[in-house]
């Protein structure tokens, strides 16, 4: 019961935390481009504004899909806080992404369709990586439960350093950061403008934004599992990971989906498999 309450509170706190993280991201991005940047609370203003826009829905499916998307994201994070099964968490996380795509595909708009196809390709690139990360964690702890990670004495990072790199790679794709902002871009113009988000508007877009915040927290939570033994280590690991993420986002240009697939399935997958084999041989 206590665990349940704790998970609920943590989930509720994750929403403002995700928003603040997004604000920090935008601020740092602006500083890296020697701009002032928006206020830290900007993502909250955006979401509030979007909630107040008049409805402009081309297909009722869109509303349904955006609700399922945010619910699935929240459920995945909740499972994580409940220290549940990593595989179950993975499936719930996928549901969120699939419904985002389904909503975009429900409308015969070429932009949203191209964006949806590309989102599917992105999923194709990061899902095997995340699965392998879970397999790696399971091979160290002996089970797929998050709770069992805490039974391990040494940080996972020491045993699975290459898998952590693969997770970082997957994180960049999952969050749609440059060079993988292929299906939709958060800032400025891209060739397909807003891609998979094109047809979501007003409150629906706000829900997708919320689900994005929750996804960010979940992925960072997964990163935190790699140094569960000390709180300070966890914080250092997360800060370094996220700063590296923002830096990469700023110094790279968008690449093609072919390049993304080639790299995700080539070197990165090899790195992940190598790490798991190495763990067994050692």
């Amino acid at each position: 019961m206590l665990k349940f309450l704790f998970a609920l509170v943590a989930l509720a706190l994750s929403v403002p935390a995700g928003g603040l993280l997004a604000g920090l991201d935008r601020k740092l991005t602006a500083r890296l481009q020697s701009r002032m940047g928006p206020p830290l609370l900007q993502p909250f203003y955006d979401v509030l504004k979007l909630c107040g826009k008049s409805p402009c829905v081309s297909n009722p499916w869109l509303v349904f899909c955006s609700f399922v998307c945010v619910t699935a994201s929240a459920l995945a994070l909740f499972l994580f806080y409940m220290q549940g099964d990593l595989l179950l968490l993975f499936f719930v996380m996928t549901i969120s992404a699939v419904f985002k795509v389904a909503g975009a595909l429900s409308i015969p708009s070429p932009y949203s369709n191209v964006g949806a196809q590309r989102e599917l390709l992105q999923m194709l690139a990061y899902e095997p990586l995340i699965t392998l990360v879970f397999v790696g964690i399971a091979s160290v702890t002996g089970s797929f439960m998050v709770a069992d990670v805490y039974a391990v004495e040494t940080p996972l990072l020491l045993q699975l350093p290459f898998l952590y790199l693969a997770l970082g790679y997957a994180l960049t794709i999952k969050l749609g950061k440059s060079p993988f902002d292929i299906s939709a871009c958060h800032h400025g113009h891209q060739e397909i403008v807003r891609g998979v988000l094109t047809e979501y508007s007003g409150p629906q877009l706000a829900l997708l934004e919320l689900s994005h915040w929750l996804d960010t927290i979940l992925i960072l939570g997964l990163c935190a599992l790699f140094w569960h033994t000390s709180f300070v280590g966890m914080v250092i690991l997360l800060v370094i990971t996220y700063l590296a993420e923002i830096l990469v986002d700023n110094i790279t240009a968008r690449m093609t989906w072919q390049w993304m697939l080639k790299n995700a399935f080539g070197p990165t997958l090899a790195l992940a498999v190598f790490n798991i084999l190495w763990f067994y041989v050692r």
């Binding site: 602006a30 940047g37 203003y45 826009k53």
Partner: protein, 164 residues
């Protein structure tokens, strides 16, 4: 009952704050000579940094709050302009950037030209200038926010809708 009313009021206040703090812009080039377009893009550079005010150039009418139009309207693109305007969910504002968009400018009596943007859709703020300076465009967007506030009933409407 009382609490419910207070809550909706507070939420409405927050939403209004969001509306004022996060105007997303879509830029449509009607038939501009590109002079004004370059100035609009210049606003996004580090020198002027529109994002300070939460302004993003979003490029999708369904996400946008403010429509920036440059150039004169002609018979070919008036339907497109109308279409983009109609696709934007309320509340929205329209800004005519540059003398061409305000009145037709030097192209006023050309055979193919309809005139300023206000011939086709209601315009909230006019920013004259050939080309309109980036500073003027930023101030124009801020003035448009005043107009939006006025329309929401948060304050009286500004006296002028022409930015000089």
């Amino acid at each position: 009952m009382d609490i419910a009313k207070k809550l909706t009021e507070a939420l409405g206040g927050y939403i209004n704050k969001g509306r004022v703090k996060s105007p997303w812009v879509i830029h449509y080039d009607c038939g501009s000579c590109n002079g004004c377009d370059i100035e609009v893009l210049a606003c996004l550079t580090p020198v002027f940094d529109l994002e300070r005010f939460g302004i993003l150039n979003i490029g999708d009418p369904k996400h946008a709050d403010v429509l920036l139009v440059t150039g004169t309207v002609n018979h070919r693109n008036k339907a497109v302009l109308r279409n983009i305007y109609d696709q934007m969910p309320d509340p929205k504002a329209v800004i005519a950037v540059g003398t061409c968009a305000c009145s037709g400018g030097v192209f006023q009596d050309c055979y193919n030209v309809v005139g300023g943007v206000d011939q086709i859709i209601p315009v909230d703020v006019y920013i004259p200038g050939c080309a309109a300076k980036p500073e003027a465009i930023i101030d124009g967007v801020v003035l448009a926010l005043e107009v939006v506030k006025g329309k929401l009933g948060l304050q009286p409407l500004p006296k002028t809708t022409v930015f000089e």
